[in-house]
Amino acid sequence: MSIPDWIILVLTIGFILLYGIWKSRGMKNIESFLLADRQMPWYHVGLSVMATQASAITFISAPGQAYSDGMRFVQFYFGLPLAVIVLCTTFIPIFRKLNVFTAYEYLENRFDQKTRTLTASLFLLQRGLSTGISIYLPSIILSTILKMDVTYTTFFTGGIVIFYTVYGGARAVSYTQMLQMFIIFSGLFMAAWMVVHLLPSHIGLQDALHIAGKMGKMNAIDTHFDLNSKYNIWSGLIGGFFLQLSYFGTDQSQVGRYLTGRSLTQSRLGLILNGFIKIPMQFFILLIGILVFTFYQFQTPPLFFNANEVNKIEHSPYQGQWIKLDSAYSRAGEVKKERVTELVSALHSGNRGAEDSAQARVLQAEFVSRQIRSQAKELMLKNNARADINDSNYVFLSFVTQHFPVGLVGLLIAIIFLASMGSIASAMNSLASSTVIDFYRRMIRKEATPSVYLKASRWSTIGWGIFCMIVALYANKLGNLIEAVNELGSLFYGTILGIFLVAFFLKKVGGHAVFLAAILSEVLVFTAVHYELCAYLWLNVFACLAVMLLALLLQLFIPKNKANKEPRNQRPD
C-alpha cells in the first residue's frame, strides 16, 4: 500500500473512533453502557442494526462468495422482511413492555431461572465463537497489507476493538455505526463504479452481466426444492425466516441494538428500515463480486488469491512445480480471454447458435483453468497439510489492493475495518450485557451500586474480547467465513427461537418441559449435522419446531412449575 493510502486509512479510522469516544463521554451506569440510555431515534436504531449484521465478512467474503458460487446466496436474506413483521408485532412490544436489558430476562419471568440460564449460555457460546470469526477477517486484511503473521494482527485488531468497546459502550457503538454506514455505502458505490471502469473499454455493464450469466454466475433465484441444496428460494424464505427471526428476536447483539430506541415506535421503525434495505444491499454487494469475476475473464487472476499461502509454497521444495502450474494457468487464462471475447461478439450478433457454441467453448476453457487450480491446491496441501486452500475470502481484497488507484485502496480498507469494528463492538457489548445481567447480577451480586455493575460490564467486555481473539487464532480452517458464521449460528438459533416461541404462544407449557425440550432439540441438531441430513438453513426450522413439539409433549407428563405471572420492571409507557 502506498503512503497516501496509509494516511487515508489511519485518518478515517482515527476520526471515527475519536468521534465515538467523544459522543460516549460521561457514562455512569449500565443503562448508559449497555443500552445508550434508550434514547436513540429510529434511523440510529436501523443503521446500528444493519451495521451490527454487516461486518467485514459482508464486504470481503460476500463478493468472494459470488465470485466462486454466483448470486444464489442472496436468497438467504428472503426471510428477513417476513421476520421483521413478526418481530414488530410480537418480540419488540414484549421486550419493551417488560423493560428488560437482555432478551433472556424475559424467560425467567415466563419460565424459570434455569431456562433463562440455558438460553443465555447458548447465546454466549454461539456469539462468542462467531465474534471470534469476525475478528479473524480484519486480521487477515492487515496481515495481507502489512505482510505480517496473522497472529500479531489478530491481537492488534482485537486490542483496538476491546479498548473502544470498554471505553465507549453502546453509545459509542451506536453513534459510530451510523457514521460508518454512510461511509460504507459510499465506499460500496465507489467500488462498484471502479469495477465497471476497470473492465475492457469494449465491455459494458450489460456485456459483463451476460458473460457472468453464461458462465452460470447469475443464478439469483433457484425455485427447485431440495433439502440438501444450501440456497434456493424455499430454504431462503422458510429457513431464512426462522434464522432471521431467531437472530433479530433472540440474539442479544441485535436485541441490544433496538432496545436503544427512544420508544416502541422508534425501535419498530429501525427494524423495518433494515427489512427494506438489507436484500437490495446484499444483492448489490454480490453483484460487485460478479463484476470482479467478469473482470478476471479479461485479465488472468492470480493462481491463488491468498498471498501468504503462495509465499509459503514459493519458498518450499515444490517451488518448481508451482511455477509450472502458474504458467499453465496464465496460458489457460489467455485462451479463456479469447473465447470470452468470441462470446461477446456472438452475443452482439444475436445469433443464438453462435452464442451457444461460444458459451460451450468458454465453459470448456473455464473447466481447464479450474483443473489447474485444483492441482495447485493439492500441491499446497502436499507441502503443508494444514494449508488454508479456500481463498474466496481473499478474492475481493486481492482485487482492491492490486487494481484500485492510490487513495481509494486506503479508503476501502478503512471501510472494511470500520465495518468489522462496528459489528465486533456490538457483539462484545451484547456478550457483556448478557454476562452481567443474566449471570453476575442474577447469581453473584444481586444488589450493588450502578458503578459496580458498570465496572463488571467493562471487565466482562475485556474477558470476552480475549476469548474472541483466541477463537480468531483458530478460524483459518472454516472456509468462506460468511457461510461459516451462519452455519455456526444455525446450530443454536433454532433451539433459542423455539424457547421464545413457546414462551409467547404456548402458555400451558412450563419451565421444566421447555428446558428438557431445548436440550433434546440441541442433541437432534448435532445428530443431523453429524449425519449431514440437510442443508444448514433447515436446521433453524427443524430445531425450532422440535422444541415446540417436544415441549408440548413433555408438558403432558411433567407438572408445570410455578412461573412468575406478573411481569417485572413494567415500563411507564
Binding site: L82, K97, L209, M218, N219, A220, I221, I279
Partner: protein
C-alpha cells in the same frame, strides 16, 4: 401504550404490507435478471 402509530402511514399494517410487497418485487426482479442474463 400511547405511542402506537407509525409516522409515515395510517397504521403499522400498511408498513408490513409494504414490506411483503417489496419482498415480492425483489424476487420477481431477481428472477427476471437470472433468466435474462443466463
Amino acid at each position: 401504550m400511547k405511542e402506537d402509530k407509525p409516522p409515515f402511514a395510517k397504521n403499522w399494517n400498511v408498513l408490513y404490507l409494504l414490506l411483503v410487497l417489496a419482498l415480492a418485487a425483489f424476487i420477481l426482479v431477481f428472477n427476471f435478471i437470472s433468466r435474462h442474463y443466463s
